[in-house]
Amino acid sequence: MTVFRDDADVHPPMDFEGYRSTALRHPKEPLIALPHRLTEVTAPVFGEGRVGELDHDLTRQHAGEPIGQRIIVHGHVKEDDGRPVPDTLVEVWQANAGGRYRHRVDNWPSPLDPNFSGCGRTITDSHGYFRFVTIRPGAYPWGNHPNAWRPAHIHFSLLGRAFTQRLVTQMYFPDDPLFFQDPIYNSVRDERAARRMISAYDHDSTEEQWALAFRWDIVLRGEDATPMEEPQA
């Protein structure tokens, strides 16, 4: 039986004092170990039918171009043994260049961009590679603590090839001066693990006279090399 490696120590705790909204939204009862049976080692498969031709290019979804720094965001989805995760759906959403989301509850005083929705999706190729074109999102204020600002980020959602691999995360940009005060970034207690959420500036992949580029590889938990007699959670 396939058993996926325990990576619980990589992920943030559900109860994290610095991020106030976790207080009433984390289970207090102990979690019960779920062995990796058939339902957990399988996942939905969605083909190209779920993705439109321009879904990967957030700068071409309207009549005009969005305001902001045009960027390419690309990388590979792999398992933790380096094996690529091909044909998997990658979904992204983000704020516009001014840090405003096109969402009814985001009403901080930065304008919406009529040419930017901030939503994209693509499917990894046979090498696990994905590529988006977008604009660099802005930082934005929120009410978590006095003068709180979220570092610029892009939300990513991945289905992987097994229910165990399902991941929703955020990609950050290198050298962001706002990390120190952001409880969501800092909820990842292992500093090396937190740094894996930061993309790298990728000059070789920029397009001259057109776009800067950032590379970000996403690593999903892999199978345990040594099969165990009893499935472990």
């Binding site: 559900m14 939204r25 979690l31 043994d81 939300h155 909820s187 894996r196 690593v219």
Partner: protein, 170 residues
């Protein structure tokens, strides 16, 4: 080899509705599919307040208990103003390894730094001998069981506190 470190989870945040809902997300099977059922409920926080910025996902076997067929098996529904959600599917079959019909569930929300995993079981099925359900303390099993009602099967999720839904470490 030393495994690469996995990428940590982060919250879906308050604006998940920009990126994640699909028009047909709740329709695991289309209208008119024989045996189609509705599963619906609401999501509550530790103060008993509804959670209007959550999303629920479901993953299940086909009616014959199989995976890897043409059956989509996957449902996704963001919660509404009253914390409500729904999906339309068919009952999964019994799985060969002694598991009763069940649906794996992911919960995401603003304020949740990682997903929470739970399962739906059907009170009108024979759940005896299911190894996962039997691993849950008897007093808490009821949080995973849905009963048929006039408007479908109801599955409320309580993230914390009295009647807290059973969540699994995966």
């Amino acid at each position: 080899m030393t495994p690469l470190g996995t990428t940590p989870s982060q919250t879906v945040g308050p604006y998940l509705a920009i990126g994640l809902p699909w028009p047909d997300g709740p329709e695991v099977v289309p209208e008119g599919t024989p045996g189609r059922i509705r599963i619906h409920g609401r999501v509550f926080d530790g103060a008993g307040e509804v959670v209007p910025d959550a999303m629920i996902e479901t993953w299940q076997a086909d009616p014959d208990g199989r995976f890897g067929t043409d059956f989509r098996g996957f449902g996704r529904c963001p919660t509404g103003e009253e914390g409500e959600w729904e999906i339309f599917t068919v009952k999964p079959g019994r799985i060969g390894d002694g598991q009763a019909p069940h649906i794996d569930v992911n919960m995401f929300a603003r304020g949740m730094l990682n997903r929470c995993v739970t399962r739906i079981y059907f009170a009108d099925e024979d759940n005896r001998g299911d190894p996962v359900l039997e691993s849950v303390p008897e007093a808490r099993r009821g949080t995973l069981l849905v009963e048929p009602g006039e408007d479908g099967y109801r599955f409320d999720v309580r993230l914390q506190g009295e009647g807290e839904t059973v969540f699994f470490a995966i």
